[in-house]
Amino acid sequence: MTTVDVTQAVARVRVPVGGRFGWLMTVYRYALVVLLAAVFVFPFVVMLMTAFKASNEIFTAPPQLLPHTWTLEHFFAALVEIPFWRFLLNTIVISGLSVLGTVLVSPLIAYSLSKLRWRGRNLLFIMVLATMMLPPQVTLIPIYMMWNRVGLTGTILPLIVPAFLGTPFFIFLIRQFLLSVPDELIEAAKVDGASEFRIYWSVVLPIARPALITSAVFQFVWAWTDFLYPLIYLNDEDSYTLSVGLYSFLGQHGVQWGPLMAACVMFTLPALLIFLLFQRYFIGGIATGALK
């Protein structure tokens, strides 16, 4: 073993081809990746800096990146000029309930599609796939009319009920995960005489944890950033989410870039935190190809 290790170590040392100029290649590689990352990150920096600038520094040509005087005034202005806390609370409630619906319901269907054997299972799976492909514009108006008929437009129900009926993307994601779980674990619990729901609850769900977390974080970010559906269903300012609230406030007092950027910072921050905390679940979800 040691000899192998040594040869591997030697091979590794010799890997940076390009000889004496190997370090130049390293610099080049990192320069490229820094440039790439900068394109994606620089707009965030502009947003932050604009939010912290004094009002009289915002409109300068050519634009200056760093503030001369740092100030929190735009954050306070944003909190006062728009009902920010109200919008924030609404967004938290809708996102939270959507996540709850997704983790409670999508795995039930995923379990039925992966571990239970029944006639019609394949048909149901095809239905899940087909609904993933359907442009939401096709169902938008009939679903709106349905909610309108029962008098529930203007409430948050149209925004959260779909999560409690199973979201095709997450059903698919969790099903793929469960397929890789060996049946023996479930069979063993059956021998012990556990009921199907008990097996699901105390054996399958704990195993499916990674897929559930991936679904939960994507559902959270989707609900947090959603615009079209809240725009259609929420018609009273008191029920607006941050997306709709910020949109409708643009221009009511002219464009005040300072407070607007401060509000955007506060709006983005929770999604950013969730992303940073659960990064590997996001990347895992992206790698399955079903989510983006």
């Binding site: 990192y30 990746v33 965030f44 149901l124 239905m127 464009v255 950013l272 990347i283």
Partner: protein, 309 residues
């Protein structure tokens, strides 16, 4: 059937009930949120109706009306422009960026996170931010262009650049596709490159003859996913085109250059209260999406390589 050999076999009836019980939320959801709405939307598309009046059968009138509706054609043209410019550029940037990320870098998870960051930003906030960045006088985009003596367009106010502004905003969230390509690049067997190098193939030929065919199944899937996303684009042009002076929802950018198909559909359904017409538009969108997708799938046998080893 495999079930015959399973040890704990249940009667089929019982198994069916169990399967249905677990799947029942989605069965309800499928009926209420998909099956019925699709049928209803098809029916509505042949009617004249709005929130305030019941559907009245008008035959093909809504579809005929599209033929003479200049705004309909403009919105379709814009959306196809976004799609046919945006999707190839998105794929090209993703592949190039994935190569940059796939260089055995230190701190790779950090670089991956940074390129994905814009994708988790609320589209409304991203739209506002880019309105500021693309501001002709005070924005950083034109400032950076001026460093390189590149002409600086009036992005958001020039009819020739409005559509490109929408594409730029959408391309900012290219990171997800880039990470999918990064995973695909890591799956290409290194022996292939070693063999090609021995044959004296340079980087360009290695890409053309190894990388491109090996990642082509991913490309096929991503082209379809992006195509669907671009054909449905709503929020980005909707936010970029909002007129801060009027504050209404009917602004569509200079010369209607940001009027996407979905925006016009939304306006018809919810602003002009022509829900029959909007439903007909939804069906045309479905058919256009289906036609382009099938065309791409049909072309796939010419350029997608499946590794059957």
């Amino acid at each position: 059937m495999a079930e015959k050999t399973a040890k704990y076999r249940e009667p089929t009836g019982r198994a069916l009930l169990k399967g249905l019980a677990f799947a029942s939320p989605f069965i309800i959801g499928f009926l209420v949120l998909y099956a019925w709405p699709i049928l209803a939307s098809g029916y509505y598309s042949f009617t004249d109706f709005s929130l305030f009046k019941a559907p009245r059968w008008v035959g093909l009138a809504n579809y005929e009306r599209m033929l003479h509706d200049a705004k309909f054609w403009k919105s379709l043209y814009n959306t196809l422009f976004f799609t046919f410019v945006g999707v190839p550029v998105d794929i090209a940037i993703s592949i190039a960026g994935a190569h940059i990320l796939n260089q055995k870098l230190r701190g790779e998870p950090i670089w991956r996170a940074l390129v994905y960051l814009p994708s988790i930003m609320p589209a409304v906030a991203a739209g506002f931010l880019w309105r500021w960045l693309l501001n002709a006088q005070y924005g950083f985009v034109n400032e950076i262009l001026s460093w390189f003596h590149i002409p600086q367009p009036n992005w958001l106010l020039d009819a020739g650049w409005g559509g490109i502004s929408v594409i730029v905003l959408m391309l900012w969230t290219v990171g997800g596709t880039m990470l999918i390509y990064l995973a695909a690049l890591k799956n290409v067997p290194p022996e292939l490159y070693e063999a090609a190098e021995l044959d004296g193939a340079g980087p360009f030929r290695r890409f053309l003859h190894i990388t491109w065919p090996m990642i082509s199944p991913v490309t096929l899937f991503q082209v379809i996913v992006l195509l669907i996303a671009f054909l449905q684009v709503f929020t980005q042009p909707f936010v970029l085109s909002k007129d801060p002076g009027l504050g209404t929802q009917t602004a569509t950018g200079p010369g209607d250059s940001m009027l996407s198909y979905s925006i016009y559909l939304f306006q018809n359904g919810f602003t002009f209260l022509k829900m029959g017409y909007a439903s007909a538009m939804a069906w045309v969108l479905l058919l256009v999406t289906l036609a382009i997708t099938l065309l791409i799938l049909w072309s796939a046998k010419k350029w997608v390589f499946y590794d059957n080893r």
